[in-house]
Protein backbone atom coordinates (compact mmCIF):
# COMPACT_ATOMS: atom_id res chain seq x y z
CA UNK A 1 0.00 0.00 0.00
CA UNK A 2 1.41 3.42 -0.92
CA UNK A 3 1.40 5.89 1.98
CA UNK A 4 3.32 8.62 0.21
CA UNK A 5 3.19 10.38 -3.13
CA UNK A 6 4.40 13.62 -4.59
CA UNK A 7 3.11 16.30 -6.90
CA UNK A 8 4.62 17.02 -10.30
CA UNK A 9 5.93 20.34 -8.99
CA UNK A 10 7.62 18.67 -6.04
CA UNK A 11 9.15 16.07 -8.37
CA UNK A 12 10.62 18.88 -10.44
CA UNK A 13 12.24 20.41 -7.35
CA UNK A 14 13.63 17.00 -6.40
CA UNK A 15 15.21 16.67 -9.84
CA UNK A 16 16.95 19.99 -9.38
CA UNK A 17 18.11 19.10 -5.88
CA UNK A 18 19.36 15.73 -7.00
CA UNK A 19 21.45 17.34 -9.72
CA UNK A 20 23.33 19.36 -7.12
CA UNK A 21 23.20 17.14 -4.03
CA UNK A 22 23.00 13.55 -5.26
CA UNK A 23 20.62 11.01 -3.73
CA UNK A 24 18.00 12.43 -1.41
CA UNK A 25 15.78 11.50 1.52
CA UNK A 26 12.86 12.98 3.46
CA UNK A 27 12.25 12.97 7.18
CA UNK A 28 8.88 14.29 8.31
CA UNK A 29 9.30 16.74 11.16
CA UNK A 30 7.09 17.56 14.11
CA UNK A 31 7.09 20.34 16.65
CA UNK A 32 7.26 24.07 16.37
CA UNK A 33 8.24 26.70 13.81
CA UNK A 34 8.85 24.76 10.62
CA UNK A 35 7.68 21.54 12.23
CA UNK A 36 5.01 19.32 10.76
CA UNK A 37 6.82 19.76 7.44
CA UNK A 38 8.92 17.30 5.44
CA UNK A 39 12.67 17.91 5.57
CA UNK A 40 14.72 16.98 2.52
CA UNK A 41 18.36 16.01 2.99
CA UNK A 42 21.15 14.36 1.03
CA UNK A 43 20.67 10.60 1.50
CA UNK A 44 22.22 9.53 4.78
CA UNK A 45 22.64 13.06 6.13
CA UNK A 46 19.95 12.39 8.69
CA UNK A 47 20.62 9.11 10.44
CA UNK A 48 17.45 7.12 10.88
CA UNK A 49 17.27 4.40 13.48
CA UNK A 50 14.99 1.99 15.25
CA UNK A 51 12.81 4.90 16.35
CA UNK A 52 11.92 5.71 12.73
CA UNK A 53 9.45 4.25 10.25
CA UNK A 54 10.12 4.04 6.52
CA UNK A 55 6.85 5.18 4.97
CA UNK A 56 7.84 4.36 1.42
CA UNK A 57 9.83 5.60 -1.53
CA UNK A 58 8.96 8.38 -3.93
CA UNK A 59 9.87 7.65 -7.53
CA UNK A 60 11.41 10.48 -9.48
CA UNK A 61 12.42 9.19 -12.90
CA UNK A 62 14.59 6.19 -12.09
CA UNK A 63 15.47 7.46 -8.62
CA UNK A 64 13.89 6.56 -5.31
CA UNK A 65 13.60 9.08 -2.50
CA UNK A 66 12.81 7.36 0.81
CA UNK A 67 10.42 9.05 3.22
CA UNK A 68 10.84 8.57 6.95
CA UNK A 69 9.03 9.60 10.11
CA UNK A 70 9.62 8.96 13.78
CA UNK A 71 7.74 5.89 14.96
CA UNK A 72 6.07 7.83 17.78
CA UNK A 73 4.74 10.38 15.32
CA UNK A 74 3.62 7.65 12.94
CA UNK A 75 1.23 6.33 15.58
CA UNK A 76 -0.79 9.51 15.14
CA UNK A 77 -0.33 9.74 11.36
CA UNK A 78 -0.83 6.12 10.32
CA UNK A 79 -4.40 6.63 9.10
CA UNK A 80 -3.43 9.28 6.58
CA UNK A 81 -1.84 9.30 3.14
CA UNK A 82 0.75 11.98 2.52
CA UNK A 83 1.46 13.83 -0.71
CA UNK A 84 4.56 15.95 -0.75
CA UNK A 85 3.91 19.23 -2.51
CA UNK A 86 5.90 22.42 -2.80
CA UNK A 87 4.88 26.06 -2.24
CA UNK A 88 6.68 29.38 -2.56
CA UNK A 89 8.30 30.26 0.73
CA UNK A 90 11.28 29.87 2.89
CA UNK A 91 11.39 27.17 5.50
CA UNK A 92 14.17 27.20 7.99
CA UNK A 93 15.70 24.05 9.27
CA UNK A 94 18.35 22.48 7.08
CA UNK A 95 16.07 21.28 4.32
CA UNK A 96 17.75 21.54 0.94
CA UNK A 97 15.08 23.37 -1.04
CA UNK A 98 14.96 26.60 1.00
CA UNK A 99 17.57 28.47 -1.07
CA UNK A 100 15.38 27.88 -4.15
CA UNK A 101 12.67 30.04 -2.57
CA UNK A 102 10.31 27.11 -2.13
CA UNK A 103 9.26 24.88 0.73
CA UNK A 104 8.10 21.28 0.70
CA UNK A 105 4.71 20.78 2.31
CA UNK A 106 2.66 17.71 3.15
CA UNK A 107 -0.91 17.46 1.93
CA UNK A 108 -2.85 14.73 3.64
CA UNK A 109 -5.93 12.65 3.00
CA UNK A 110 -7.52 9.88 4.99
CA UNK A 111 -6.61 6.40 3.86
CA UNK A 112 -9.61 4.56 2.48
CA UNK A 113 -10.77 1.34 4.13
CA UNK A 114 -9.36 -0.77 1.30
CA UNK A 115 -5.98 0.92 1.74
CA UNK A 116 -5.71 0.13 5.45
Amino acid sequence: MARVALTREAAEVLRRLRASHGDLMFHQSGGCCDGSAPMCYPAGEFRTGSSDVHLGDLSVDEFAVPVWMSAAQFEYWSHTHLTIDVVPGRGSGFSLEAPLGVRFLVRSRLLKDEEL
Partner: protein, 507 residues
Protein backbone atom coordinates in the same frame (compact mmCIF):
# COMPACT_ATOMS: atom_id res chain seq x y z
CA UNK B 1 -6.01 53.93 18.19
CA UNK B 2 -2.57 54.62 16.84
CA UNK B 3 -1.24 53.34 13.59
CA UNK B 4 2.50 53.36 13.28
CA UNK B 5 3.99 54.26 9.92
CA UNK B 6 5.69 51.38 8.15
CA UNK B 7 9.50 51.38 8.30
CA UNK B 8 10.91 53.77 5.75
CA UNK B 9 7.67 55.74 5.33
CA UNK B 10 7.55 59.35 6.47
CA UNK B 11 6.94 59.57 10.18
CA UNK B 12 8.18 56.06 10.88
CA UNK B 13 10.18 55.52 14.05
CA UNK B 14 12.50 53.10 12.27
CA UNK B 15 14.06 52.64 8.86
CA UNK B 16 15.45 49.43 7.51
CA UNK B 17 18.56 49.60 5.38
CA UNK B 18 18.30 48.37 1.80
CA UNK B 19 20.75 45.61 2.58
CA UNK B 20 22.27 43.86 5.59
CA UNK B 21 25.62 42.13 5.62
CA UNK B 22 26.88 39.79 8.32
CA UNK B 23 27.82 41.31 11.66
CA UNK B 24 31.24 39.84 12.38
CA UNK B 25 33.96 41.09 14.69
CA UNK B 26 32.04 44.26 15.48
CA UNK B 27 31.52 45.37 11.92
CA UNK B 28 29.44 44.64 8.88
CA UNK B 29 31.09 42.23 6.47
CA UNK B 30 29.79 41.29 3.00
CA UNK B 31 29.15 37.60 2.38
CA UNK B 32 32.09 35.65 0.98
CA UNK B 33 30.15 34.57 -2.08
CA UNK B 34 28.63 38.03 -2.57
CA UNK B 35 25.04 36.78 -2.69
CA UNK B 36 21.97 38.21 -0.99
CA UNK B 37 18.37 37.11 -0.59
CA UNK B 38 15.22 39.22 -0.51
CA UNK B 39 13.26 39.62 2.70
CA UNK B 40 9.50 40.20 2.38
CA UNK B 41 7.21 41.56 5.07
CA UNK B 42 4.30 39.22 5.78
CA UNK B 43 2.15 42.31 6.36
CA UNK B 44 1.88 42.96 2.62
CA UNK B 45 4.08 40.33 1.00
CA UNK B 46 6.36 43.10 -0.37
CA UNK B 47 10.13 42.82 -0.14
CA UNK B 48 11.71 45.50 2.02
CA UNK B 49 15.39 44.65 2.35
CA UNK B 50 17.94 42.11 1.27
CA UNK B 51 20.10 39.97 3.46
CA UNK B 52 23.54 38.40 3.16
CA UNK B 53 23.31 34.79 2.03
CA UNK B 54 25.88 33.24 4.34
CA UNK B 55 27.87 30.10 3.67
CA UNK B 56 30.48 28.03 5.46
CA UNK B 57 33.18 30.62 4.71
CA UNK B 58 31.19 33.30 6.52
CA UNK B 59 30.57 31.00 9.45
CA UNK B 60 34.32 30.33 9.69
CA UNK B 61 35.03 34.04 9.63
CA UNK B 62 32.53 34.60 12.42
CA UNK B 63 34.05 31.74 14.40
CA UNK B 64 37.48 33.32 13.95
CA UNK B 65 36.14 36.57 15.39
CA UNK B 66 34.37 34.78 18.23
CA UNK B 67 37.42 32.76 19.16
CA UNK B 68 39.46 35.94 19.11
CA UNK B 69 37.07 37.56 21.56
CA UNK B 70 36.06 34.66 23.78
CA UNK B 71 39.05 34.59 26.08
CA UNK B 72 38.97 38.29 26.85
CA UNK B 73 35.22 38.31 27.39
CA UNK B 74 35.42 35.23 29.60
CA UNK B 75 38.05 36.95 31.73
CA UNK B 76 36.03 40.16 32.00
CA UNK B 77 34.75 40.58 35.54
CA UNK B 78 31.15 39.66 36.14
CA UNK B 79 30.51 43.24 37.24
CA UNK B 80 31.70 44.52 33.88
CA UNK B 81 29.80 41.86 31.95
CA UNK B 82 26.66 42.67 33.91
CA UNK B 83 27.18 46.36 33.19
CA UNK B 84 27.29 45.63 29.48
CA UNK B 85 24.04 43.67 29.68
CA UNK B 86 22.40 46.44 31.66
CA UNK B 87 23.52 49.03 29.14
CA UNK B 88 22.11 46.90 26.32
CA UNK B 89 18.82 46.75 28.22
CA UNK B 90 18.80 50.53 28.70
CA UNK B 91 19.57 51.13 25.04
CA UNK B 92 16.78 48.79 23.96
CA UNK B 93 14.34 50.42 26.34
CA UNK B 94 15.18 53.86 25.00
CA UNK B 95 14.51 52.59 21.47
CA UNK B 96 11.62 50.31 22.29
CA UNK B 97 9.16 51.68 19.76
CA UNK B 98 11.67 51.47 16.92
CA UNK B 99 12.53 47.88 17.74
CA UNK B 100 8.85 46.99 18.13
CA UNK B 101 7.92 48.42 14.74
CA UNK B 102 10.92 46.72 13.13
CA UNK B 103 9.95 43.35 14.56
CA UNK B 104 6.28 43.71 13.68
CA UNK B 105 7.12 44.65 10.11
CA UNK B 106 9.37 41.67 9.69
CA UNK B 107 7.28 39.07 11.52
CA UNK B 108 3.70 40.26 11.01
CA UNK B 109 2.71 40.20 14.67
CA UNK B 110 0.56 43.02 16.07
CA UNK B 111 2.41 46.05 17.35
CA UNK B 112 0.64 45.92 20.69
CA UNK B 113 2.37 42.58 21.36
CA UNK B 114 5.84 43.79 20.42
CA UNK B 115 5.30 46.97 22.47
CA UNK B 116 3.85 45.25 25.53
CA UNK B 117 5.52 41.85 25.49
CA UNK B 118 8.36 41.02 23.09
CA UNK B 119 10.52 44.07 23.68
CA UNK B 120 9.87 44.71 27.40
CA UNK B 121 10.55 41.02 28.05
CA UNK B 122 13.77 41.19 26.05
CA UNK B 123 14.90 44.26 28.00
CA UNK B 124 14.12 42.57 31.30
CA UNK B 125 15.88 39.40 30.20
CA UNK B 126 19.19 41.19 29.87
CA UNK B 127 18.66 42.78 33.28
CA UNK B 128 17.78 39.45 34.85
CA UNK B 129 20.94 37.76 33.62
CA UNK B 130 22.99 40.82 34.58
CA UNK B 131 21.65 40.24 38.07
CA UNK B 132 22.04 36.48 38.36
CA UNK B 133 25.61 36.45 37.09
CA UNK B 134 26.54 38.92 39.83
CA UNK B 135 24.89 36.67 42.39
CA UNK B 136 26.38 33.42 41.14
CA UNK B 137 28.81 31.77 43.53
CA UNK B 138 31.14 28.85 43.16
CA UNK B 139 31.50 26.26 45.87
CA UNK B 140 33.98 25.03 48.41
CA UNK B 141 33.79 21.46 49.64
CA UNK B 142 35.99 20.44 52.49
CA UNK B 143 36.77 16.79 51.77
CA UNK B 144 38.82 16.43 54.92
CA UNK B 145 41.06 18.57 57.08
CA UNK B 146 43.70 18.97 54.36
CA UNK B 147 41.86 18.41 51.09
CA UNK B 148 39.61 21.09 49.66
CA UNK B 149 37.54 21.04 46.46
CA UNK B 150 36.98 24.44 44.92
CA UNK B 151 34.31 24.70 42.25
CA UNK B 152 34.38 27.45 39.68
CA UNK B 153 32.03 28.18 36.79
CA UNK B 154 33.89 28.83 33.59
CA UNK B 155 32.47 29.83 30.21
CA UNK B 156 32.27 27.19 27.48
CA UNK B 157 34.04 29.47 25.01
CA UNK B 158 32.34 29.94 21.64
CA UNK B 159 28.74 28.83 21.28
CA UNK B 160 26.42 28.59 18.27
CA UNK B 161 22.82 29.74 18.49
CA UNK B 162 20.09 29.19 15.91
CA UNK B 163 17.08 31.44 16.36
CA UNK B 164 13.46 30.88 15.30
CA UNK B 165 11.29 33.34 13.43
CA UNK B 166 8.30 33.63 15.75
CA UNK B 167 9.91 36.12 18.15
CA UNK B 168 12.96 37.25 16.16
CA UNK B 169 14.36 39.58 18.83
CA UNK B 170 13.05 38.00 22.04
CA UNK B 171 14.19 34.48 21.14
CA UNK B 172 17.62 35.82 20.22
CA UNK B 173 17.78 37.59 23.58
CA UNK B 174 16.67 34.45 25.45
CA UNK B 175 19.78 32.81 24.10
CA UNK B 176 22.18 35.75 24.03
CA UNK B 177 21.66 37.02 27.57
CA UNK B 178 22.64 33.85 29.48
CA UNK B 179 25.45 33.04 27.05
CA UNK B 180 26.98 36.51 27.39
CA UNK B 181 26.42 36.68 31.14
CA UNK B 182 28.24 33.37 31.47
CA UNK B 183 31.20 34.78 29.54
CA UNK B 184 30.83 33.12 26.14
CA UNK B 185 31.29 34.54 22.68
CA UNK B 186 28.43 33.81 20.28
CA UNK B 187 27.86 33.09 16.63
CA UNK B 188 24.16 33.54 16.04
CA UNK B 189 22.14 32.60 12.99
CA UNK B 190 18.71 34.21 12.73
CA UNK B 191 15.90 32.47 10.91
CA UNK B 192 15.86 33.16 7.19
CA UNK B 193 12.19 34.23 7.44
CA UNK B 194 13.09 36.98 9.93
CA UNK B 195 16.72 37.88 9.37
CA UNK B 196 16.56 41.67 9.58
CA UNK B 197 15.18 43.00 12.88
CA UNK B 198 18.11 41.51 14.82
CA UNK B 199 20.32 43.85 12.80
CA UNK B 200 18.30 46.86 13.92
CA UNK B 201 19.14 45.69 17.43
CA UNK B 202 22.81 45.00 16.64
CA UNK B 203 23.29 48.44 15.14
CA UNK B 204 21.86 49.94 18.33
CA UNK B 205 24.10 48.03 20.70
CA UNK B 206 27.24 47.32 18.67
CA UNK B 207 29.29 49.96 20.50
CA UNK B 208 28.47 48.37 23.86
CA UNK B 209 30.02 45.00 23.05
CA UNK B 210 33.69 44.17 22.50
CA UNK B 211 34.18 43.21 18.83
CA UNK B 212 33.64 39.51 18.19
CA UNK B 213 31.64 38.77 21.33
CA UNK B 214 28.42 38.62 19.31
CA UNK B 215 28.52 37.72 15.64
CA UNK B 216 25.48 37.37 13.40
CA UNK B 217 25.67 35.29 10.25
CA UNK B 218 22.56 35.26 8.10
CA UNK B 219 21.57 32.77 5.50
CA UNK B 220 19.65 29.60 4.86
CA UNK B 221 19.71 26.72 7.29
CA UNK B 222 21.36 24.31 4.92
CA UNK B 223 24.01 26.82 3.85
CA UNK B 224 24.79 28.70 7.08
CA UNK B 225 23.00 26.93 9.93
CA UNK B 226 24.42 23.51 9.18
CA UNK B 227 28.08 24.63 9.03
CA UNK B 228 27.54 26.36 12.38
CA UNK B 229 25.74 23.45 14.04
CA UNK B 230 28.24 20.89 12.79
CA UNK B 231 31.37 22.96 13.42
CA UNK B 232 34.14 21.50 15.53
CA UNK B 233 34.81 25.03 16.71
CA UNK B 234 31.67 25.51 18.79
CA UNK B 235 31.44 24.25 22.35
CA UNK B 236 27.67 24.10 22.44
CA UNK B 237 24.70 24.57 20.14
CA UNK B 238 21.38 26.09 21.20
CA UNK B 239 18.43 25.64 18.87
CA UNK B 240 14.74 26.43 18.88
CA UNK B 241 12.73 24.82 16.12
CA UNK B 242 11.31 21.44 15.18
CA UNK B 243 12.07 17.85 15.99
CA UNK B 244 13.78 16.64 12.83
CA UNK B 245 16.26 19.52 12.80
CA UNK B 246 16.65 19.10 16.56
CA UNK B 247 17.62 15.48 16.05
CA UNK B 248 19.97 16.42 13.24
CA UNK B 249 21.68 19.00 15.46
CA UNK B 250 22.05 16.33 18.15
CA UNK B 251 23.61 14.04 15.57
CA UNK B 252 26.14 16.68 14.61
CA UNK B 253 26.79 17.39 18.29
CA UNK B 254 27.41 13.70 18.92
CA UNK B 255 30.20 13.80 16.35
CA UNK B 256 31.86 16.63 18.25
CA UNK B 257 30.84 15.48 21.74
CA UNK B 258 29.34 18.81 22.67
CA UNK B 259 26.13 19.63 24.54
CA UNK B 260 23.00 21.01 22.99
CA UNK B 261 19.94 22.74 24.31
CA UNK B 262 16.82 22.29 22.25
CA UNK B 263 13.37 23.80 22.39
CA UNK B 264 11.24 21.90 19.92
CA UNK B 265 7.68 22.97 20.47
CA UNK B 266 4.58 21.29 21.76
CA UNK B 267 0.89 20.68 21.52
CA UNK B 268 -0.10 22.30 24.75
CA UNK B 269 -3.33 21.37 26.52
CA UNK B 270 -5.39 24.11 28.12
CA UNK B 271 -7.60 22.40 30.70
CA UNK B 272 -10.81 24.02 31.98
CA UNK B 273 -12.39 22.34 35.02
CA UNK B 274 -16.11 22.77 35.65
CA UNK B 275 -15.80 25.16 38.59
CA UNK B 276 -14.44 27.77 36.20
CA UNK B 277 -18.07 28.42 35.28
CA UNK B 278 -19.38 28.53 38.85
CA UNK B 279 -19.78 32.30 38.54
CA UNK B 280 -19.98 34.78 35.70
CA UNK B 281 -17.32 36.97 37.20
CA UNK B 282 -13.89 38.36 36.52
CA UNK B 283 -12.34 34.90 36.82
CA UNK B 284 -14.73 33.46 34.23
CA UNK B 285 -13.80 36.32 31.93
CA UNK B 286 -10.13 35.62 32.56
CA UNK B 287 -10.62 31.95 31.70
CA UNK B 288 -12.30 32.87 28.41
CA UNK B 289 -9.34 35.07 27.60
CA UNK B 290 -7.13 32.12 28.53
CA UNK B 291 -8.93 30.00 25.93
CA UNK B 292 -8.45 32.71 23.31
CA UNK B 293 -4.71 32.87 23.98
CA UNK B 294 -4.30 30.38 21.10
CA UNK B 295 -4.50 33.41 18.83
CA UNK B 296 -1.63 35.25 20.52
CA UNK B 297 1.17 35.87 18.06
CA UNK B 298 -1.09 34.30 15.38
CA UNK B 299 -0.61 30.96 17.15
CA UNK B 300 3.06 31.01 16.24
CA UNK B 301 4.22 30.19 19.73
CA UNK B 302 5.80 26.90 20.78
CA UNK B 303 3.45 26.85 23.78
CA UNK B 304 0.33 27.85 21.85
CA UNK B 305 -2.60 26.42 23.87
CA UNK B 306 -3.71 24.59 20.77
CA UNK B 307 -5.73 21.91 22.55
CA UNK B 308 -8.57 23.10 24.78
CA UNK B 309 -9.98 20.43 27.11
CA UNK B 310 -13.28 21.43 28.70
CA UNK B 311 -15.13 19.46 31.37
CA UNK B 312 -18.37 17.99 30.00
CA UNK B 313 -20.65 19.59 32.58
CA UNK B 314 -19.80 23.09 31.33
CA UNK B 315 -18.78 22.17 27.80
CA UNK B 316 -21.58 23.68 25.73
CA UNK B 317 -21.88 26.88 27.72
CA UNK B 318 -18.17 27.54 28.08
CA UNK B 319 -17.35 26.66 24.49
CA UNK B 320 -20.16 28.88 23.25
CA UNK B 321 -18.80 31.80 25.23
CA UNK B 322 -15.25 30.99 24.13
CA UNK B 323 -16.21 30.96 20.46
CA UNK B 324 -17.93 34.29 20.93
CA UNK B 325 -14.75 35.64 22.55
CA UNK B 326 -12.72 34.30 19.65
CA UNK B 327 -14.96 36.02 17.12
CA UNK B 328 -14.23 39.31 18.91
CA UNK B 329 -10.52 39.03 18.16
CA UNK B 330 -9.76 42.00 15.94
CA UNK B 331 -7.75 41.16 12.88
CA UNK B 332 -6.12 43.98 11.00
CA UNK B 333 -3.03 45.91 10.10
CA UNK B 334 -0.25 44.76 12.42
CA UNK B 335 0.98 48.32 12.94
CA UNK B 336 -2.43 49.42 14.24
CA UNK B 337 -2.45 49.35 18.05
CA UNK B 338 -6.05 48.07 18.07
CA UNK B 339 -5.13 44.99 16.08
CA UNK B 340 -5.11 41.78 18.12
CA UNK B 341 -4.00 39.34 15.45
CA UNK B 342 -1.72 40.11 12.53
CA UNK B 343 -0.13 38.16 9.71
CA UNK B 344 1.40 34.69 9.69
CA UNK B 345 5.14 35.02 9.31
CA UNK B 346 5.55 33.58 5.82
CA UNK B 347 3.71 32.19 2.84
CA UNK B 348 4.81 28.60 3.52
CA UNK B 349 3.54 28.95 7.08
CA UNK B 350 0.19 30.15 5.74
CA UNK B 351 0.04 27.19 3.35
CA UNK B 352 0.87 24.74 6.12
CA UNK B 353 -1.89 26.10 8.35
CA UNK B 354 -4.40 25.82 5.50
CA UNK B 355 -3.27 22.23 4.85
CA UNK B 356 -4.00 21.41 8.50
CA UNK B 357 -7.41 23.05 8.37
CA UNK B 358 -8.03 20.79 5.38
CA UNK B 359 -7.02 17.55 7.12
CA UNK B 360 -8.97 18.61 10.21
CA UNK B 361 -12.13 18.84 8.14
CA UNK B 362 -11.36 15.53 6.40
CA UNK B 363 -11.01 13.83 9.77
CA UNK B 364 -14.45 15.05 10.74
CA UNK B 365 -13.55 17.88 13.07
CA UNK B 366 -16.18 20.62 13.10
CA UNK B 367 -15.19 24.23 12.40
CA UNK B 368 -16.99 26.40 14.95
CA UNK B 369 -15.49 29.64 13.73
CA UNK B 370 -12.81 30.74 11.26
CA UNK B 371 -11.20 28.03 9.17
CA UNK B 372 -10.01 30.07 6.24
CA UNK B 373 -7.54 32.53 4.90
CA UNK B 374 -8.53 36.15 5.53
CA UNK B 375 -8.30 38.77 2.81
CA UNK B 376 -8.06 42.08 4.63
CA UNK B 377 -8.13 44.12 1.44
CA UNK B 378 -5.95 46.92 0.11
CA UNK B 379 -2.23 46.56 0.63
CA UNK B 380 -2.89 43.74 3.10
CA UNK B 381 -4.31 41.49 0.37
CA UNK B 382 -0.79 40.31 -0.38
CA UNK B 383 -0.16 39.44 3.27
CA UNK B 384 -0.61 36.12 5.03
CA UNK B 385 -3.69 36.24 7.25
CA UNK B 386 -5.75 33.44 8.79
CA UNK B 387 -8.96 33.93 10.78
CA UNK B 388 -8.78 32.53 14.34
CA UNK B 389 -10.13 29.02 14.05
CA UNK B 390 -11.87 26.80 16.59
CA UNK B 391 -12.17 23.09 15.77
CA UNK B 392 -14.21 20.61 17.76
CA UNK B 393 -13.07 17.01 17.54
CA UNK B 394 -11.22 14.10 19.11
CA UNK B 395 -7.74 13.99 20.61
CA UNK B 396 -6.66 11.23 18.20
CA UNK B 397 -7.13 13.52 15.23
CA UNK B 398 -4.00 14.95 13.67
CA UNK B 399 -5.05 18.54 14.42
CA UNK B 400 -4.92 17.55 18.09
CA UNK B 401 -1.50 15.99 17.79
CA UNK B 402 0.55 18.20 15.55
CA UNK B 403 1.79 21.68 16.02
CA UNK B 404 0.02 23.74 13.38
CA UNK B 405 1.75 26.93 14.50
CA UNK B 406 -1.24 28.98 13.51
CA UNK B 407 -4.30 30.51 15.19
CA UNK B 408 -6.06 27.17 15.39
CA UNK B 409 -7.35 25.49 18.55
CA UNK B 410 -8.74 21.97 18.70
CA UNK B 411 -11.38 21.49 21.40
CA UNK B 412 -12.62 18.36 23.10
CA UNK B 413 -14.25 17.46 26.40
CA UNK B 414 -13.40 15.32 29.42
CA UNK B 415 -15.58 13.64 32.01
CA UNK B 416 -13.48 13.85 35.18
CA UNK B 417 -10.00 14.58 36.52
CA UNK B 418 -8.44 11.29 35.39
CA UNK B 419 -9.92 11.65 31.93
CA UNK B 420 -8.52 15.19 31.72
CA UNK B 421 -5.01 14.07 32.65
CA UNK B 422 -5.15 11.13 30.24
CA UNK B 423 -6.05 13.39 27.32
CA UNK B 424 -3.69 16.18 28.38
CA UNK B 425 -0.76 13.75 28.44
CA UNK B 426 -1.74 11.92 25.26
CA UNK B 427 0.79 13.81 23.15
CA UNK B 428 4.38 13.44 22.03
CA UNK B 429 5.23 16.80 23.54
CA UNK B 430 5.48 18.41 26.94
CA UNK B 431 6.41 22.05 26.68
CA UNK B 432 3.46 24.02 28.03
CA UNK B 433 0.03 23.50 29.53
CA UNK B 434 -2.72 25.53 31.14
CA UNK B 435 -4.91 24.58 34.08
CA UNK B 436 -7.97 26.58 35.07
CA UNK B 437 -9.83 25.95 38.31
CA UNK B 438 -11.08 27.86 41.33
CA UNK B 439 -10.05 24.90 43.49
CA UNK B 440 -6.41 25.32 44.43
CA UNK B 441 -5.82 21.65 45.16
CA UNK B 442 -7.28 20.50 41.83
CA UNK B 443 -5.17 23.08 40.02
CA UNK B 444 -2.08 22.04 41.93
CA UNK B 445 -2.56 18.32 41.33
CA UNK B 446 -3.27 18.84 37.65
CA UNK B 447 -0.24 21.07 37.34
CA UNK B 448 1.93 18.33 38.80
CA UNK B 449 0.32 15.49 36.82
CA UNK B 450 0.64 17.09 33.40
CA UNK B 451 3.95 16.12 31.86
CA UNK B 452 5.12 19.50 30.70
CA UNK B 453 7.92 21.82 31.67
CA UNK B 454 5.70 24.86 32.11
CA UNK B 455 2.18 24.65 33.48
CA UNK B 456 0.34 27.93 33.73
CA UNK B 457 -2.25 27.84 36.49
CA UNK B 458 -5.09 30.31 36.05
CA UNK B 459 -3.10 32.28 33.53
CA UNK B 460 -1.41 31.63 30.21
CA UNK B 461 1.32 32.95 27.92
CA UNK B 462 3.25 34.83 30.61
CA UNK B 463 7.02 34.59 30.07
CA UNK B 464 8.78 36.42 32.90
CA UNK B 465 12.49 35.97 33.39
CA UNK B 466 13.04 34.00 36.62
CA UNK B 467 10.52 31.29 35.66
CA UNK B 468 12.17 28.26 34.03
CA UNK B 469 10.95 27.39 30.55
CA UNK B 470 11.63 24.19 28.66
CA UNK B 471 10.24 20.86 27.62
CA UNK B 472 9.49 17.36 28.78
CA UNK B 473 9.28 14.47 26.31
CA UNK B 474 9.99 15.42 22.69
CA UNK B 475 9.81 19.14 23.42
CA UNK B 476 13.51 19.41 24.03
CA UNK B 477 16.36 19.65 26.48
CA UNK B 478 17.25 22.51 28.81
CA UNK B 479 15.52 25.34 30.65
CA UNK B 480 15.68 28.87 29.36
CA UNK B 481 14.53 32.07 31.01
CA UNK B 482 16.03 31.20 34.36
CA UNK B 483 19.31 31.13 36.27
CA UNK B 484 19.59 27.40 35.50
CA UNK B 485 20.34 28.33 31.89
CA UNK B 486 23.74 29.52 33.08
CA UNK B 487 24.55 25.85 33.73
CA UNK B 488 23.99 25.18 30.04
CA UNK B 489 26.57 27.81 29.13
CA UNK B 490 29.23 26.99 31.70
CA UNK B 491 31.70 24.31 32.59
CA UNK B 492 32.31 23.32 36.19
CA UNK B 493 35.97 23.56 37.08
CA UNK B 494 37.09 21.70 40.13
CA UNK B 495 40.42 22.51 41.79
CA UNK B 496 41.19 19.73 44.24
CA UNK B 497 43.81 21.19 46.55
CA UNK B 498 45.88 19.40 49.18
CA UNK B 499 47.15 21.47 52.09
CA UNK B 500 48.93 18.46 53.63
CA UNK B 501 52.75 18.49 53.65
CA UNK B 502 52.83 14.67 53.61
CA UNK B 503 53.02 12.15 50.73
CA UNK B 504 49.76 10.41 49.82
CA UNK B 505 51.38 7.04 50.67
CA UNK B 506 51.05 5.03 47.44
CA UNK B 507 54.65 5.06 46.22
Amino acid sequence: MTKYAAPGQSGSVVTYRDRYDHFIGGEYVPPAKGEYFANPTPVTGEEFTEIARGTADDVERALDAAHGAARGWGKTSVADRANVLNKIADRMEANLEALAVAETWENGKPIRETLAADLPLAVDHFRYFAGVIRAQEGGISQIDEDLIAYHFQEPLGVVGQIIPWNFPILMAVWKLAPALAAGNAVVLKPAEQTPASIHVLMELIADLLPPGVVNVVNGFGVEAGKPLASSRRVAKVAFTGETTTGRLIMQYASENIIPVTLELGGKSPNVFFSDVAAERDAFYDKALEGFTMFALNQGEVCTCPSRALIQSSIYDQFLGDAVERTRAVKQGHPLDTDTMIGAQASNDQLEKILSYIDIGKQEGARVLTGGERADLGGELSGGYYVTPTVFEGDNKMRIFQEEIFGPVVAVTQFSDYDDAMKTANDTLYGLGAGVWSRDGSVAYRAGRDIQAGRVWVNNYHAYPAHAAFGGYKQSGIGRENHRVMLDHYQQTKNLLVSYSPNAQGFF
